[in-house]
């Protein structure tokens, strides 16, 4: 059992840091430190292409498709250095982390040739069409319909929370293709071009004034008959396979962002005198401890090479970080005091810490609410009996 990384891995870290810091000090200094997912979208598409031109776009992919075949440790290191250098989030993270691996695993040779090079090159931006107004936590109850007509898939319905749909080129959609089916059966996994008359996108303004999410409406929207992954009716299997690709490589990178937020709170507390309040001191210590435990929890999870059984500990990670960060938002406001509730900005844009307070309310909801996470932990990790399902 070791805490750190090997010499070779640390050399790789230095290489990542050099390149990323050089970019953030040079050609792409204008996007350094952007906190939201939406600001300067065009420049960030250019950044995707810059990453690709230097072979940093999808290092975990196989070399033949534009990756480096990087080890898990190297991917983790790149994610850490990426966040540490203050590079803003990837606008094509869905393409790189979800769509690409799904096509690699379940797609045909033709589909790999059609999509992978352009995803890797930052030319095709993907978004994800899973959730619907009535299929949130209960993801399998999708109602969006798909049928084949004149050699094309025709799709009708509505998706919601489609993050970054307004700047994306393609969307993958889980739709009900077999009339009369319920739940996970009869679903098909389609890939659809967004720029077409049958798809309409409306932004959803959220609690912090930003609009990262969208409603996506499908009215006789079309894609080619072979633009599906797997067979018709296998959509649920593909969707679950896709979610399993989120193995937590990005979590350590995400923690670097958390580190920056906590450091900012510590600096604010020292500056405004709250650092001498014993209760604030306890909460800052708790936040620090929680962040460290998150790091070593993630390292345990990623060091576990036995994938033959459900890694129960890994199931606890999402609720752990989400709850920690929501608490951090509250701590930030308690450190700032009332000053955290005003801004000179006339567009309702907030400082990092005030924005953290607002935005972190979503952390315990998206990607499975805390309540759903507890069900998963209890049923899958602890083997407790399933809740009987309703019939409405």
């Amino acid at each position: 059992m070791k805490l750190g990384f090997s010499k070779a891995e640390e050399d790789f870290r230095a290489e990542c840091a050099d390149w990323l810091n050089g970019q953030m000090a040079g050609e792409f200094s204008d996007i350094k430190g952007i906190a939201t997912l939406t600001a300067k979208a065009e420049r960030r598409k250019e950044w995707e292409q810059q990453l690709a031109a230097n072979n940093w776009s999808c290092i975990g992919w196989p070399t033949e498709w534009g990756g480096r075949g990087a080890s898990l440790a190297e991917q983790v290191i790149f994610a850490e250095e990426y966040a540490r250098a203050g590079v803003p989030g990837r606008v094509n993270h869905i393409g790189i982390e979800l769509a690409g691996p799904t096509i690699l695993t379940f797609g045909t040779e033709e589909q790999k040739k059609q999509f992978l090079p352009d995803i890797a090159a930052g030319k095709t931006i993907f978004c994800q069409g899973f959730s619907e107004p009535n299929a949130g936590s209960d993801l399998a109850s999708v109602r969006t319909k798909a049928r084949v007509e004149n050699g094309e898939w025709v799709v009708n319905g509505q998706k919601i929370w489609t993050s970054l749909a307004h700047i994306s080129d393609w969307i993958f959609v889980v739709a009900r293709s077999e009339e009369g089916t319920k739940g996970p059966k009869g679903l098909t996994f389609l890939m659809m071009p967004i720029d077409q008359p049958g798809i309409e996108i409306r932004g959803i303004k959220q609690i912090n004034g930003d609009a990262e999410f969208n409603e996506t409406f499908f009215t006789d929207a079309k894609c080619a008959e072979d633009s599906l992954i797997g067979a018709p009716g296998e959509g649920w299997k593909i969707a679950m396979g896709l979610l399993a690709f989120e193995r937590g490589v990005s979590t350590l990178g995400q923690q670097m962002g958390f580190r920056n937020e906590l450091d900012e709170i510590i600096a604010a507390a020292k500056a405004n005198g709250r650092a001498s309040d014993p209760l604030i001191r306890q909460r800052i210590a708790k936040a620090e401890i929680g962040l460290r435990l998150m790091r070593y929890g993630a390292l345990r999870m990623l060091s576990n090479t036995d994938h033959s059984k459900v890694d129960g500990a890994a199931l606890t990670y999402k609720i752990q970080w989400a709850t920690w960060r929501r608490n951090l938002g509250e701590l930030a406001m308690d450190v700032l005091g009332q000053a955290g509730e005003i801004t000179d900005n006339n567009d309702y844009e907030w400082s990092t810490l005030s924005n953290l307070f607002l935005y972190s309310r979503s952390d315990t909801i998206y990607g499975g609410t805390n309540q759903i996470q507890r069900n998963l932990i209890a049923e899958r990790a602890l083997g407790m009996p399933r809740e009987p399902r309703g019939d409405l």
């Binding site: 805490l3 005198g273 401890i289 609720i319 932990i377 209890a378 009996p385 009987p388």
Partner: protein, 351 residues
């Protein structure tokens, strides 16, 4: 990136788990609780048959010179059964003498500790008065002080080795809520103490060993509370369903697991940081002691609640975990103290 147990560490952990399950049974622990809080049979087997009592001690002194990770594997397994053994004191004294003792002190005492030939414990009080080598005063709340024969005692700045058979030494044993680790009061009247060569090093190492021991025990205990509660939730039927199928029940069990997995990271981060001499070691140890103690108490309290009436009885083992959990929370300084130590590292001293 290799933050996972080696095969050897896994083997030690598994050996220790089955040893304590087989030996530190509820029956034996309860027998110890009814007398002096010492399960002699388990301790003797642990020291002599299992041969793991000298795990942290150097080979030249009869130990096996393994690290804190392996030690934490053992303490976790002992804690999972709330074994009534003097592991805490033995560890603190062994670490203190190894880090701060003279060569002669090490040669004299470490082999005896490694072989389990002598029972040891540690304690301190600012009230302890030293007049040359003669110590006087009262030191309270010493774990397993009622049965120990060898002590490392300190006044906060200096530390001495003291033996229970020294002239002027006496022990009082109040009733202790956690009967698996009784707390004793030492009364010293001009008792001869042998100064350690380097008191600072001895106290630092002793405390570090003690904190990791308690954190690992707490991790093991908390996991037992969860395991036993989950097992019960599958057997107990109310309203025509196993109670474990109710979300109100499941969510509490899930919350226990979320804390326990963090506690596991805390223990092995701290143990690894000590073994590697990491700059984070001090932070990690404070984090582990505070976090694991709180986790154990939460899980033991939830265990009682989730068992309903049976969990409140003497007959059920829940109270044994609950009392040990409470004892760990305050032993060797409470969570607020450890978190303040972390806060000081981040924020400086409180103004």
């Amino acid at each position: 990136m290799d933050f996972a147990f080696t095969d050897e560490q896994l083997m030690i952990a598994e050996t220790a788990q089955s040893f304590f399950v087989d030996n530190a049974t509820s029956e034996r622990t309860r027998k110890a609780m009814a007398s002096d809080g010492f399960d002699r049979e388990t301790w003797r087997a642990f020291c002599q048959e299992l041969g793991l009592s000298g795990l942290l001690i150097a080979e030249e002194f009869g130990g096996s010179n393994l690290g804190m990770v392996e030690f934490a594997n053992i303490a976790e397994a002992a804690g999972a059964q709330v074994a009534a053994i003097p592991l805490l004191g033995q560890t603190m004294v062994g670490q203190a003498i190894a880090a701060g003792g003279t060569q002669e002190q090490k040669s004299k005492w470490l082999p005896k500790l490694a072989g389990g030939e002598i029972i040891a414990t540690a304690g301190g009080s600012a009230d302890l008065q030293a007049n040359g080598k003669k110590l006087s005063g009262k030191i309270g709340l010493i774990p397993h002080g009622n049965i120990a024969e060898l002590f490392v005692l300190s006044d906060g700045s200096n530390a001495w080795i003291v033996e229970s058979n020294a002239n002027g030494f006496s022990v009082e044993t109040p009733t202790t809520m956690d009967q698996t680790r009784p707390l004793a009061t030492f009364i010293l009247n001009d008792v001869e103490g042998e100064p350690l060569a380097n008191s600072d090093a001895a106290m630092a190492a002793g405390k570090a060993g003690g904190w990791i021991c308690l954190a690992a025990e707490a991790l093991g205990g908390a996991q037992s509370c969860l395991d036993r509660t989950v097992a019960y939730s599958k057997e107990r039927v109310q309203f025509g369903r196993a109670i474990g199928s109710f979300q109100a029940y499941k969510h509490r069990a899930a919350d226990m697991m979320i804390e326990i997995e963090q506690a596991r990271s805390a223990v092995y981060w701290a143990a690894c940081a000590v073994d590697e001499g990491s700059d984070d070691a001090e932070l990690a140890i404070h984090a582990a002691k505070a976090f694991c103690a709180d986790t154990y108490f939460k899980c033991a309290g939830d265990m009682i609640q989730l068992h309903g009436g049976i969990g409140f009885t003497w007959e059920h083992d829940a109270h044994i975990f609950f009392k040990r959990a409470r004892s760990i929370q305050t032993m060797l300084l409470d969570g607020n103290w450890h978190r303040e130590a972390v806060a000081t590292m981040l924020l400086g001293e409180a103004a």
